[in-house]
């Protein structure tokens, strides 16, 4: 295990949650065979069941008073892990030991019923969290006040906005008198004012020495609160580490997946048309050093490198390559072409340079079309096979930056 913290020896009593070699498999039947008739008519026929391994050999320890994060991309097993910790799922293999009382909720507002009023829902949700009616009575005013919903308590929940529902749910949830809290993506909703309130509450809970397990996509939140983080990918435990290291791992994950997505998309996903006699194989952006990159800072030279194949066009046929650089809203930014360069079909590689470009912050896509010299026939046109981003420190808006000068007249 990676979390031996130097000289601080961890004793059993300091551990809030101990996860040892946890595996979780789900059986996904290919053809859902849930009717008795099917079973009776073909009792011997085995349904083809696909085992989905949601968690593979996950082990870690969460110390008491720790703010522990679980991060990973969609489908990485985060929520499954949280549900295993919350004892909603039984692990297929391995064990989870909980030391202390645990708030059993995973999501805010469990048991909320849209047909009941806010008041009634407080009692319902309170019961879910283990409060008796008396206890809810005692904390009722506090809950309503914190949620800032004094005027709405006798309205049905279905008439609440989603933000109001979350506020109400959160106000009840944080009153759970347990040692360990499990929180799944709460801060995604609510306005900034309420989010600040949540932050304050988290800090308070942390100071009270409660153990908090927090699942999030948002690395900024994770970095701000968590003492340690487990990074999951495809059910595997990639690392159990400090948030700063987890951040690096997490962005690597996202990067590599985007890269593979882009590669597959450059093969077949983008829109393409034309006669196909002369085609564009590859479009990449490069720096002035010649290195492939898709990230540029403002004013940095941008090169667009294209390679082509001649499929059935005769030798030395004249052609023109036209490019279109579009912004995030698909608006045309620049549309250069090679009319003045005189290209012919023996050409295989071409670089278009933008020297000291005036492009502002943003993501730009490239489309490439190969025409005959009169622009009447398109040999090949590919729409947005690749894109690049420009970033820099500026307060100016718009797609381009131009030298500007303000003069005070009066």
């Amino acid at each position: 295990m990676t979390e031996n913290m130097g000289s601080n020896k961890i004793t059993e009593a300091d551990i809030a949650i101990k996860v040892e070699g946890v595996y979780k498999d789900f059986n996904l039947p290919h053809e859902i065979n849930q009717s008795l008739k099917q079973r009776l008519l073909s009792p011997l026929k085995k349904t083809s069941i696909e085992k989905q391994h949601a968690l593979k050999d996950v082990s870690f320890e969460i110390k008491k008073g720790e703010f522990f994060g679980i991060v990973g991309r969609n489908g990485s097993g985060k929520s499954t892990l949280l549900k295993v910790l919350a004892q909603i799922y039984v692990p297929t293999k391995g064990s989870v030991t909980i030391n202390g009382s645990l708030t059993p909720f995973i999501e805010l507002g469990v048991g909320f019923n849209p047909e009941l009023t806010g008041r009634e829902n407080i009692y319902m949700n309170g019961a879910m969290l283990g409060f008796s009616k008396k206890e809810v009575n005692a904390m009722y005013d506090e809950v309503v006040q914190f949620a800032e919903l004094e005027k709405f308590m006798d309205q049905k929940l279905k008439n609440y906005s989603s933000g109001m529902q979350v506020r109400l749910a959160f106000s009840i949830a944080i009153r759970a008198k347990t040692d360990i809290l499990l929180i799944d993506e709460v801060l995604a909703v609510g306005d900034s004012n309420f989010q600040r309130k949540c932050y304050r509450t988290f800090n308070e809970l942390k100071e009270e020495g409660k153990t908090i397990v927090f699942v999030s996509h948002n690395m900024a939140d994770v970095e701000r609160y968590c003492d340690r983080v487990v990074v999951l990918d495809g059910g595997n435990q990639l690392a159990t580490c400090e948030p700063s290291e987890a951040k690096v791992r997490y962005f690597q994950l996202n990067d590599s997946s985007q890269k593979s997505k882009k590669e597959s998309s450059s093969r077949n996903k983008f829109v393409r048309w034309g006669s196909g006699e002369f085609i564009t194989d590859k479009v990449q952006t490069i720096k002035s050093s010649g290195k492939t990159s898709s990230r540029f800072s403002i004013g940095e030279d941008i090169g667009i490198k294209m390679s082509f194949s001649n499929i059935s066009l005769g030798d030395n046929q004249d052609l023109v390559v036209g490019l279109n650089i579009t912004g995030e809203k698909n608006e045309n930014v620049i549309g250069p072409n090679t009319r003045n360069v005189k290209l012919n079909s023996s050409m295989r590689e071409l670089v278009l340079w933008f020297k000291n470009p005036n492009l502002n912050n943003g993501t730009y896509s490239i489309s490439v079309t190969v025409f005959d010299p009169s622009f009447t026939q398109q040999f090949d046109s590919i729409e947005r096979p690749t894109s690049f981003s420009v970033s820099g420190d500026t307060t100016e808006g718009g797609l381009v930056i131009m030298d500007n000068l303000f003069e005070v007249i009066k």
């Binding site: 849930q34 059993p104 469990v110 019923n113 009941l116 019961a127």
Partner: protein, 275 residues
């Protein structure tokens, strides 16, 4: 035995009591929400149903002319059967219907089934009070045997709960069960002496058939209740079947409850993934 103790103490733990209470109260609130007469319906509905049945079975089909207090006798049967249908049918759907809860929070799942049967049970008690009122008005002479009623009500509840637990757990995997159960109950309605007197069976068919019918807990409870509350001339399991075998329905009640509870417990670990 110690497991049984923890089960009982869990059942009455603070959290579970609060949860059970909220589930039952919510169920009641939602059932009568937006209706002008509200809770009054929980009394008006059985009252209306009684009216219809009373007319049909005392004026048109006169099965029970030779039975003392036949209207009350009949109503008691209908009330009991309505409870059994409501409790088991509700329990059957309960786990699947509450899937959203089960997938998000860890709590003893039997609370869901119990809350469903308790809602039906409250309706049953209200209806029973109307039957009692009706009996008083029509001049039924209550004897000391009415003291058996609480025990019989308890037996009825436990049997229904046992069946309900088993159905609820089975339904998670076999969704055909709801339809099968409905048809089965339709048949059972006529297999149990609810709208016809047991004596009809003995007179027109054979004593053996009556004996078989009287061995199931529902028939036994029904006839015992009639004996205890309507007329002591009612035939009971003991008056139809000879001694050791006559205990069968009572034993069956506990066997069903224990088996249902055990099966439910074993299956409940995986409800969160299967509902």
């Amino acid at each position: 035995m110690s497991e049984f103790k923890t089960l009982v103490s869990n059942l009455f733990s603070k959290r579970n009591k609060a949860l059970l209470r909220e589930l039952v109260v919510t169920d009641f609130k939602l059932r009568y929400q937006n209706s002008a007469l509200g809770y009054a319906w929980s009394l008006l509905k059985p009252l209306g149903m009684f009216g219809v049945l009373y007319v049909v079975f005392t004026q048109i089909f006169r099965f029970g002319d030779d039975i003392q207090n036949f209207p009350v006798y009949l109503l008691l049967g209908i009330v009991l059967w309505t409870f059994f249908i409501e409790a088991t049918g509700g329990a059957l759907q309960s786990i699947v219907a509450r899937g959203d809860l089960i997938r998000k929070i860890s709590f003893p799942k039997y609370i869901i089934v119990i809350s469903g049967t308790i809602s039906a049970f409250i309706n049953f008690l209200l209806s029973l009070m109307i039957v009692l009122l009706f009996a008083t008005i029509t001049g039924v002479d209550f004897g000391p045997q009415i003291l058996f009623m609480p025990l019989l009500i308890l037996e009825l509840y436990l049997f229904s709960l046992g069946v309900g637990l088993m159905l609820a757990a089975l339904f998670v995997n076999f969704r055909d069960l709801s339809h099968i159960w409905e048809v089965l109950m339709q048949a059972a309605f006529y297999a149990v002496p609810i709208i016809y007197p047991l004596k009809l069976l003995i007179d027109n068919y054979s004593g053996t058939l009556a004996k078989i019918v009287m061995l199931n807990p529902i028939s036994q409870i029904l006839q015992d209740m009639r004996f205890s509350m309507v007329t002591d001339t009612s035939l009971t399991t003991f008056s139809v079947v000879q001694k050791p075998i006559a205990y069968t329905p009572y034993i069956l009640t506990f066997v069903v409850l224990i088996l249902g509870g055990m099966y439910f417990r074993a299956k409940s670990r995986y409800f969160a993934e299967q509902t």
